[in-house]
Amino acid sequence: MVTATKDRHKLIDALRREMVRTPSCVSTGIAEMDTYLRGGLALGALHEIAAADFRAIPGAWGFLLALMARVEHKGAVVWPLLLGGAFGLPYGQGLKSFGFDPGDFLVVRCRREHDAAWAMEEALRIGAGPVIGARTRDMDLTASRRLQLAAQQSGTPIFLLRGHNDRQPSAAVSRWRVAVLPSARDRFGLFGKPRWHVALEYAQGGRCNEWVVEWDHETLRLRLSSVLADRTERHAA
């Protein structure tokens, strides 16, 4: 009986430590975003990025990669890929513009959805590198909690793309929603940087907020888009 009480005390102590523990995290590159996230992007955790609508899916992939680019990876990013994605397959040179070496991506071609979920968990448990992928339709709270736990244990982050109309609950520590905005023109009236409206819909221990960000493919970082940058557009209007 005495040992049982002792064990229970030990367990409660461990749980308390777990609660106050600050997970190690990396900066998103935007100081303001970091404060809302309580320090930054948690490393051993599940993050979900949803597109605001169907057409914003490529933009959501872009923001996902932009966040993932902040995580140090040792030559491997595991990407379980279901065949038949709506907008096609990742393209090597396109990944380069996010600052990645395309050779780092370990693509796992999966025929079935539960194979993809299994591959993600397996990759997290072994902890070879960050995992990215798309949330599958049958991924319920239990499945996402498994991924969150596996990520926590190995300290490897996982970034999942969530369908725009996916209403399933999840155990992600941060949830984002990305909408695409018209980009600013550069001074020659040509393509500016891709611009997204990003809403932090849930942050564990943090607060929610919205930002307009741009991906700068030259300095390879996210930037807050200043409202004044829209001068040309306002002028035109």
Binding site: Q93, K96, G103, P182, F191
Partner: protein, 450 residues
């Protein structure tokens, strides 16, 4: 009764069950038996002649059964379970063993050097010679092998043919005899015979672990690591189950290998039918690679570099061919420039120019309806997958010509445009160069930008 007419025999006996000879089916059955019998020795081959039998090379195998006599008894017992009556002989030469098998006692083991003695009492027909040769020998009074063994070679060859002398010498071990096993021998293998059949998958895995533990020291001694492993399970009723596991990098890690088999067996769970159980198992290292002694896997520290480990685990369930990396091909045709390559074959992307390329590319370019002010101008509006988009900004064209050295496909020159619609979505469109006979250019959607 051989050589008699069917009608005569039927008249004499009254009742006779007559079946057509099926040489093909017989041969197939014999080969199946040979495959099964590889659990005694992997070096096994069916006899070439009209007489059916199997030859085993049991060098280095007999001790696994506790000696040659016990091996013979064991084989006999196992074969009798299939309802087969076996005649088994062990001798130092193939000729002697076959002769004793067909004309000797039911089970005979001849020690090395005693072949002459054992063979002397047998009839000459035991020497794997034709019936005509045997008949003419008997006509001359040469009935037993002892009668011909010491006769001068030259007249014998002249009279009965060179092949007769060859057979005679092969039986006594004076001439070598080639032996080609049915299945190419495997250099590294481990075998386990079980006293009781096993059925549960856990037990199969335990057995696999034991086999792997037997196999790995040999590999280690020779500085090898396994790349492909095959587990053969022998079912009690003679069926054989084979499971092959491929490794991304050479390994001698027992735990890892057993894990891979475990995943493989999980994936094959539906086909996995233990029947009345497995009574023997063999683990072969089909492909090996040099792996320096002193490290169990290529990953020196699992924590630091556990990628090959991950690739193996994913590959054993999903197929190693599905674990790939993006590979750069030396071509400027966009859909061919990026391909998938095996995971350990890492492509070098460092020298590649930074081109403006989409993040996601469609596997096949999809037709789009495009409105442009000029036939060769940039798009103003386009319709793709039933949705209409107004173009806010476009950049291009980037002209990509087909490769002239690939003439047979005759693709057309393409003009690529990067366009942004009014909402900010970015697309990669191209227009095919018009040729004679076209009244308007054709447009295609090829990819999307983030």
């Amino acid at each position: 009764m051989s050589g008699e007419l069917l009608a005569d025999v039927r008249a004499r006996l009254g009742v006779l069950d007559v079946r057509e000879a099926e040489p093909d089916a017989d041969r197939q059955a014999l080969e199946k038996l040979a495959t099964w019998a590889a659990c005694f020795s992997p070096h096994v081959a069916p006899w070439a002649g009209p007489v059916h039998g199997l030859t085993f090379d049991i060098e280095g195998c007999a001790h696994l059964f506790g000696g040659e006599e016990r091996m013979v008894r064991h084989m006999d017992e196992r074969l009798s379970r299939f309802g087969l009556t076996a005649r088994i002989a062990i001798a130092s030469t193939i000729g002697a063993a076959q002769a004793l098998c067909r004309f000797g006692t039911r089970e005979s083991v001849v020690a090395a050097g005693k072949e002459a003695e054992a063979l002397s009492r047998l009839p000459v027909a035991a020497l794997r010679i034709s019936e005509r040769q045997a008949a003419s020998l008997i006509r001359l009074g040469l009935k037993r092998i002892a009668d011909v063994a010491h006769l001068p070679r030259a007249p014998l060859a002249q009279r009965f043919g060179a092949d007769f002398v060859e057979r005679l010498d092969q039986a006594f071990g004076r001439l070598p005899e080639p032996f080609s096993p049915l299945v190419a021998p495997v250099a590294y293998r481990a075998l386990a015979m079980l006293a009781e059949p096993i059925m549960a998958q856990d037990h199969v895995l335990d057995l696999t672990r034991r086999l792997a533990q037997d196999l790995m020291p040999t590999l280690m001694r020779n500085g090898k690591g396994a790349r492909t492993l095959r587990l053969t399970l022998y079912r009690v009723d003679g069926e054989i189950k084979e499971t092959v596991v491929n490794l991304a990098a050479a390994s001698r890690d027992v735990v890892h290998i057993v894990n891979l088999f475990s995943l493989k067996l999980d994936a094959l769970a539906e086909e996995y039918d233990a029947g009345f159980g497995f009574e023997a198992a063999r683990l072969d290292a089909l492909e090996c690679e040099t792996l320096p002694v002193g490290q169990a896997t290529l990953a020196v520290e699992r924590q630091a570099d556990n990628l090959p480990f991950l690739i193996d685990r994913l590959g054993s369930r999903l197929g190693l061919e599905n674990i790939v990396r993006l590979k750069l091909n030396d071509t400027h045709i966009p859909e061919h420039a990026v391909a998938y390559a095996p995971a350990l074959d890492r492509s070098d992307w460092s020298g590649q120019d930074d081109l403006l390329r989409p993040l996601l590319i469609l596997p096949c370019a999809e037709p789009a309806e495009v409105t442009a002010l000029m036939p060769d101008g940039p798009p103003r509006r386009f319709r793709w997958r039933g949705v209409s988009y107004g173009v806010a900004l476009s950049e291009g064209p980037e002209r990509i010509r087909p490769e002239w050295w690939r003439r047979q496909q005759r693709p057309r020159t393409r003009d690529y445009y990067t366009v942004e619609d009014e909402a900010g979505h970015r697309f990669w469109l191209y227009r095919e160069m018009m040729e004679e006979g076209d009244d308007h250019p054709r447009w295609f959607m090829h990819g999307v930008f983030a």
